[in-house]
């Protein structure tokens, strides 16, 4: 009884974390991705580009690019507008202007595996193959859906929409200047190559590792996790080719093959390379 009244009072005062029930303003911009797809890196990149004078780091990133899962409704409502918000939500029709970061699910599952060890959700000797199986089947009890549900629900609802920008994590790594240029244009920022270069350098993996060592205890996602395991891990793409068991690769490709191909990932298990969808081939 008392507990319920407290919950009601907290809700009334806006002290709860709104998550999917965030109040959305018409001028909001969302940086959306599935978890472990480079969202934090992109937050740093964008924060360094948009707020160069604020010296973005782990201690203030939540203020600069607010996170509705980690902050109170009150703080979110009071954030200066226009807000650039971080999100892992699957499709939400209220989000108008959206940057969606997509990453190869074969790397996402590896990153999530290591992150789950860091935050003690699984033990260090948890079998990777079993983890992949649960990842594919949606048994990790993810509030954000499976990788395929999350990506498909955005990519196909918003494709061809000028207020939607799809960025591949892999492209952001291999051609950072070009991809950052797209982001800057999408945000209507008047910035030149020097500003882009600066934001990229300040968000380099090495620099983020240094910042994490100093500030890991200050940030909601790394506080109370195993300090012997880094949050900023390899920051590479294609690690799955060495680390992921073949059966895991096959499972992922058989489940999400056509979506993966549509967002530009090459399949390696040949039997899934055929279109799974007769009659609905790309009309281009």
């Amino acid at each position: 009884m008392m507990k319920r009244l407290i919950a009601g009072g907290r809700h009334f005062l806006g002290l709860h974390k709104p998550g999917r029930n965030l109040n959305v303003w018409p001028d909001d911009i969302f940086l959306v991705s599935y978890p472990k797809s480079g969202n934090t890196w992109t937050r740093f990149l964008i924060a360094n580009l948009v707020y160069p004078k604020k010296n973005p780091d782990f201690s203030n990133i939540n203020q600069l690019i607010p996170d509705p899962e980690a902050m109170s409704k009150r703080d979110l409502d009071r954030s200066p507008r226009p807000r650039i918000l971080k999100s892992h939500q699957y499709f939400d029709p209220r989000y108008q202007k959206v940057i969606y970061i997509v990453r190869d699910p074969r790397d996402v599952v590896l990153s999530e595996y290591h992150f789950d060890i860091k935050r003690r959700a699984i033990s260090e000797d948890y079998p990777l193959s079993q983890f992949v199986e649960r990842f594919v089947r949606g048994e990790l009890n993810h509030p954000n859906g499976t990788w395929g549900e999350n990506a498909a629900s955005w990519v196909y609802t918003r494709a061809n929409d000028p207020r939607f920008l799809l960025i591949r994590y892999e492209a952001l790594q291999s051609q950072a200047m070009e991809e950052m240029g797209k982001i800057a244009r999408f945000l209507s920022l008047a910035v030149g190559p020097e500003e882009l270069r600066r934001a990229i350098d300040l968000s380099a993996a090495d620099r983020m590792r240094d910042l994490e060592k100093k500030q890991g205890h200050l940030w909601s996602s790394t506080r109370e996790t195993r300090q012997d395991k880094p949050f900023v891990r390899s920051a590479k793409s294609g690690g799955w080719k060495k680390e992921l068991p073949e059966i895991g690769i096959a499972e992922i490709e058989s489940k999400w093959g056509s979506l993966m191909r549509d967002v530009g990932y090459e399949l390696v298990v040949s039997s899934f390379s055929e279109s799974g969808m007769p009659g609905m081939a790309n009309k281009s």
Binding site: G8, S153, M280
Partner: protein, 286 residues
């Protein structure tokens, strides 16, 4: 201050309208559709199928096949399980077992236009053309555009064994076959007599009669313009007569891939570089 205290108590006791904040249980089943796509009709079908001893009507449909959008969290929590819930939400990962009902958007826009007049959501002098512009932009509903809604569900779930895609038009043309598909999906005993009884009890004529008697007892029709009926034509293809041709063309031009995927007539297919990668074509069984 009183108002503020009221909020705290309402929240504490779960009396606030659930919207999208209700608790989803693993054994829930959802009947999902874009608005004005035959959802109420299928609610009646399901109600009559599952509760043959109840007199299903507008007065009790919110109890039999409840709608979280208009009910309190507490009410929803106390319902007997397993629940079958009605929803207009776009893709929601919490909804595991889903019957997804889809209807030709050229008919949806006409139905939604009349419904919005009935509900006084739009002024009486708004034309169908004006309304259709906003419909295409997804500005007439809180659930995104028709394209976003269908694309979100179908691209994320089509091909899953706990996702059933049903076309409104098939349900009209082949009611027995389609109702049987739904019944099998929900593991409801589906002998032909029981199916036929549910279909007869949910006919448009019967629903029209019930609407006349009970309109004041249902959230969908209470305090709305009584001269515009809720159960309207209950037909498919009405757009060919009553939708201005250039609007039909605009809908085709914007949404060709999804119209084709769903097997709806497209006279001038548009070159749109979007495919909807589903694991297999929906099997409409025709």
């Amino acid at each position: 201050m009183v108002k503020q205290l009221k909020f705290v108590f309402k929240y504490a006791f779960g009396l606030d309208q659930a919207g999208n904040r209700f608790t989803v249980y693993p054994d829930d089943t959802f009947l999902v559709s874009y608005p004005k796509s035959g959802n109420t009709w299928v609610r009646f079908l399901l109600g009559n199928l599952i509760y043959p001893n109840e007199e299903v009507g507008f007065s009790n449909i919110n109890r039999l096949v409840p709608s979280p959008d208009v009910l309190s969290r507490r009410f929803l929590k106390k319902l007997p399980r397993p629940r079958i819930l009605k929803s207009h939400q776009p893709f929601d990962t919490r909804f595991k077992k889903v019957v997804y009902l889809v209807r030709d958007p050229r008919d949806v826009v006409i139905s939604e236009y009349h419904f919005n007049l009935k509900k006084r959501y739009i002024a009486p002098d708004v034309s169908l053309e004006q309304f259709a512009e906003r419909f295409l932009a997804g500005k007439t509903a809180d659930y995104g555009s028709w394209w976003m809604h269908t694309a979100s569900w179908i691209s994320a779930r089509q091909g899953d064994s706990d996702f059933l895609l049903v076309r409104y038009e098939d349900l009209l043309a082949y009611p027995l076959r389609e109702t049987e598909r739904i019944a099998l999906f929900l593991a409801i005993d589906a002998n032909p007599e029981r199916l036929q009884l549910a279909i007869d009890r949910s006919s448009a004529d019967r629903m029209r009669k019930l609407e006349k008697q009970q309109f004041s007892q249902w959230t969908g029709t209470k305090n709305t313009r009584a001269e515009i009926p809720f159960v309207r034509a209950a037909k498919s293809g009405g757009w060919k007569e009553s939708l201005p041709p250039h609007i039909a063309e605009q809908i085709e031009a914007s949404w060709t891939p999804m119209l084709e995927l769903l097997g709806y007539e497209v006279r001038n297919p548009a070159e749109i570089k979007v495919s909807i990668p589903i694991k297999k074509n929906p099997d409409f069984g025709i």
